[in-house]
């Protein structure tokens, strides 16, 4: 059987939205004994939990995430172990290991702050020159165990999204990929007319180290 590593947070009542956004609500509004079926209603913005941003989140653009063909959301995965760095910069080896059309995952270890107020503050950020390398390499998406690759005024967001590199935020379980040699990333958003989408993100293991 193929092995999968699930990189997505569970969407449930109480999950924290990005500061300034409205809270997510999830509640049952149809009941088996009364209505003959159960149904749950979700009320949320698109930037809660594991999700994918496109350019219209932060820039003038009419492109919505449902405009992208499915191919954008599948790619060869590559984990960069960037733990214990406040500013995530370039390393010479990245020129060799980052491949065109791949999906790069930044493993910062900051997942262990998820659920605390600190998670949204003082998190590691991506440096401009590393973003430039990703643009040069034409990667499909950049994912991370962070709420954002930057802070206001979000220059890294603009640089990546402006070059059609989508951003996957709030990943988890990236530590489980350290011992995996080769994996595919499948990061599927809803096909929704919006500037981002909640997403299910998994890694499919091809071979172990």
């Amino acid at each position: 059987m193929t092995e999968f590593v699930d990189l997505s947070y569970t969407i449930e009542a109480g999950i924290s939205a990005y500061p300034g956004d409205d809270d997510l609500k999830l509640y049952q509004n149809r009941f088996l004994d009364k209505d003959k079926y159960n149904d749950t209603r979700l009320e949320t913005g698109m930037h809660v939990g594991t999700h994918i941003d496109v350019a219209s989140h932060i820039m003038k653009s009419n492109v919505v995430i449902s405009d992208y063909p499915a191919d954008k959301f599948f790619g060869k995965g590559c984990l960069l172990d960037v733990r214990n760095q406040d500013a995530i910069g370039i390393k010479d080896e990245y020129w060799d290991i980052v491949e065109e059309s791949s999906i790069i995952l930044l493993y910062t270890g900051f997942e262990n702050k998820f659920g605390s107020a600190e998670y949204f503050k003082n998190h590691p950020v991506v440096e401009e020159e590393l973003a430039d390398l990703f643009i040069d390499k034409k990667i499909k998406m950049l994912g991370m165990d962070l709420p954002s690759p930057d802070q206001y005024p979000f220059s890294i967001h603009k640089k990546l999204l402006g070059n059609d590199i989508l951003i996957i935020e709030n990943l988890r379980n990236l530590g489980l990929l350290v011992n995996i040699e080769k994996f595919e990333v499948i990061a599927l958003p809803l096909k929704i007319r919006a500037e981002a989408s909640l997403a299910r993100v998994v890694a499919r293991v091809v071979s172990f180290k």
Copy 2:
């Protein structure tokens, strides 16, 4: 490049909910010029557009869709061409072509009614003995270009879900799979604590006929 066929409807304002359910709402509530970013808020039940049901939708069960490991949502695809049948019954050949752990797609052609009131009424239904075959074969999921495999009192829902065969409703583009010999189905719901989830469903083409 791998070819994908997207089997999902676009989630947008105006998409029809199942009769009796509350409508989906999708609206922008943060604006780039005022708030410095765009955000879209979604308010919806879990049974709108392309989605996946688990047993707790219609039966007593504490299992929610976020409890399933990702492996459940990937499988070898098999399209059954069942156009022009009001009651979708068994055919001898199905015993050969339906494989264990596969994801079976019923292509009824009823997609052409999507968006009309008729789509939810008088749609084709799955017969009990065909559901029994799927249970016997231990398939992972059954998908279809219909709002439901049955009508009230939903005996096919209960039979399939009670045997851990998840149901994918409101698929589209199944006609594009007729000329494809071999494909994988990737039907990823959100990892959400609910009895169902909106889902992104795609077929990845392995070989053409």
